[in-house]
């Protein structure tokens, strides 16, 4: 199961991130995971939220540039080498990771990681076939 990630274009300026988060707060959207990729002049905020549609509506209302992409969230055993094992599967199957980041909270006893792939569908199938627990949208909403 793939999940929806929302990415937001941000200029590097003071208070902008808090404005974005306030918009989501006012729309009753809860952020599950978040990461920021930054450059000298701009940044891209990527996040997984419980209500992506509501988040997109809020951004549209406030003229914030955002888009949705499919990412794959997987459970990784929270033990040394846990992530390496998952990455080995990806390497062996020639799956290219654009970027990845960790969840802020724990889903279960395992760690949760979000992966952005070129081909999320293939990645999803491959991971499942290799016994990796892929987290579904429903799981995210109920976190």
């Amino acid at each position: 199961m793939k999940i929806k990630q929302i990415s937001v274009f941000l200029e590097n300026r003071k208070g902008r991130l808090s404005e974005i988060c306030s918009m989501l707060g006012a729309a009753g959207v809860n952020i599950r995971a978040l990461t920021i990729a930054e450059t000298e002049t701009f940044g891209v905020l990527r996040m997984v939220v419980d209500k992506p549609a509501a988040a997109m509506d809020a951004f549209r209302t406030h003229s914030v540039t955002a888009n949705q992409t499919e990412v794959v969230a997987v459970e990784v055993p929270d033990t040394p080498g846990g992530l390496a094992k998952v990455l080995d599967i990806l390497t062996d199957n020639d799956l290219n990771v654009e970027y990845m980041y960790g969840f802020v909270e724990k889903f279960t006893e395992n760690a949760l990681l979000v992966f952005r792939f070129d081909d999320p569908e293939k990645a999803h199938q491959t991971l499942k076939a290799n016994g990796v627990n892929v987290v579904g949208e429903h799981d995210i909403e109920s976190l």
Partner: protein, 433 residues
């Protein structure tokens, strides 16, 4: 000294007769040699026989920048390509660039008017001149070069850039004349101090500055910084390049060589002449050019014109400094920039039409900078940084290719660019010209 006393101090009545004679020949010449003009004359129902004196010029149709673009490359020429000895190209507003070409006689004319200009600024034949205008397709460098050669000056063709080398050459050869853009002259002062040269001790005592608009306050700054006389030169490649008009040492308007470039000042909206001394659009007819003579070319530059005699003795009319433009052209580092060029490039990228704004600034280094802000909307946004970087670079490279000047591109959030009545302001010019 006055380079060409006969023409430059010709009594006005005699000058008018000469202009009449030349216009009559010109009308016949373009009608017979340039099918484009023949058609244009026929369209407005005028023929060479209708042109009997310079006063009949108002019967002739205007020529626009667009006409040059649409007839690219040689449609507006009155001579075949084989008669041309040189061509120059400048970037157009959109699409085709503007092409001009010179016959051997046209090059002589260019040398003549540039020699007049250098003399007007105070040069004498024993002088050495450092030409720091760009040499190449841009008319600045070669135009000044031909004039200096005509005068018999010693030319140092440094072209633009490499400031420290410019300064070394100035120190080694002690040229009294400097020709470059006014902003580059100021820029060089910083570099001079950096390497321990007091600009006031420099050998340059006369500056022939042009290719971009500049103000009286900038003149004072240059004159005080370098202890030199800073004069203004005007020109445009369509007419000939630099050397259309030039200030004399009294710095009271630019002498326009009306025996060869006939000026009219019109109301840009109605096309009708405005009373002497009033602001309007400068329209020029090249009375003697051969390769690409232009009839009533609309320069889009706003000036006023006076026929009052000047203390220097020249009888040529004088224009004010350029007071503005009738279009949205801006001049950056001597290069003409139209916002429509930016629009064109952006439109070509992923087929989008994002909001943009040009911010022109003259920083501490005195050189103009161009920043292009582009609003990122959903159509061009990607969650992958590398794609955003690629977009930024693509916009930068394509704009630089079109404008021939370096720019910085900044991706900004939607609604960052202020809009008034829904229409975004395309250009913010922060320069204190």
């Amino acid at each position: 000294m006055i380079w060409n006393e006969k023409f430059e101090t010709m009594p006005l009545e005699e000058l008018k007769n000469l202009q009449s004679e030349r216009l009559v020949s010109l009308a016949r010449y373009v009608y017979d040699n340039c099918p484009w003009y023949k058609r244009k004359f026929n369209d407005v129902g005028v023929g060479p026989a209708d042109i009997k004196s310079i006063d009949d010029i108002v019967k002739l149709p205007f020529t626009n920048k667009l006409d040059m673009r649409d007839s690219y490359p040689f449609g507006l020429f009155s001579r075949p390509r084989t008669d041309l000895v040189e061509i120059h190209v400048s970037s157009g507003t959109t699409g085709n660039p503007t092409l001009v070409g010179y016959t051997r006689d046209d090059i002589s004319l260019w040398g003549e008017v540039m020699a007049r200009s250098l003399c007007c600024a105070g040069a004498v034949p024993d002088d050495t001149i450092q030409i720091a205008y760009g040499y190449g397709l841009f008319t600045g460098g070669l135009g000044a070069h031909y004039g200096a050669m005509e005068m018999g000056l010693t030319i140092i063709p440094t072209s633009s850039g490499q400031t420290k080398r410019q300064l070394k050459i100035m120190q080694d050869f002690q040229p009294r004349i400097l020709a470059c853009t006014p902003s580059y002259c100021l820029y060089m002062a910083d570099d001079a101090r950096e390497i321990g040269i007091d600009p006031r001790t420099a050998s340059w005592k006369i500056g022939v500055f042009g290719a971009e608009p500049w103000s009286e306050s900038m003149r004072s700054e240059i004159e005080q910084t370098w202890d030199m006389l800073a004069t203004d030169i005007y020109g445009l490649s369509e007419i000939i390049g630099p050397g259309v008009s030039q200030e004399c040492t009294y710095k009271d308007g630019l002498h326009l060589y009306s025996d060869v470039f006939y000026p009219e000042i019109i109301d840009p909206d109605t096309g009708k002449p405005v009373p002497e001394g009033q602001d309007g659009e400068l329209v020029i007819t090249t009375l003697t050019k051969q390769g690409i003579p232009l009839i009533r070319y609309r320069t889009r530059d706003i000036v006023s014109l006076t026929y009052e005699p000047c203390k220097c003795g020249r009888t040529s009319p004088r224009t004010s400094k350029i007071k503005g433009r009738t279009d949205d052209m801006i001049v950056v580092r001597g290069i003409n920039v139209f916002p429509s060029q930016i629009e064109h490039v952006l439109l070509g990228i992923e087929g989008t039409h994002p909001h943009y704004q040009l911010v022109i600034d003259r920083g501490a280094h005195k050189l103009d900078s161009v920043e292009i802000m582009v609003e990122v909307d959903e159509r061009i946004f990607s969650d992958e940084i590398k794609r955003m970087h690629a977009l930024e670079q693509k916009i930068k490279k394509e704009i630089e290719a079109v404008l021939s000047i370096g720019v910085t591109v900044r991706l900004v959030e939607p609604k960052t660019i202020a809009r008034s009545e829904g229409k975004a302001k395309r250009v913010i010019d922060k320069r204190q010209l």
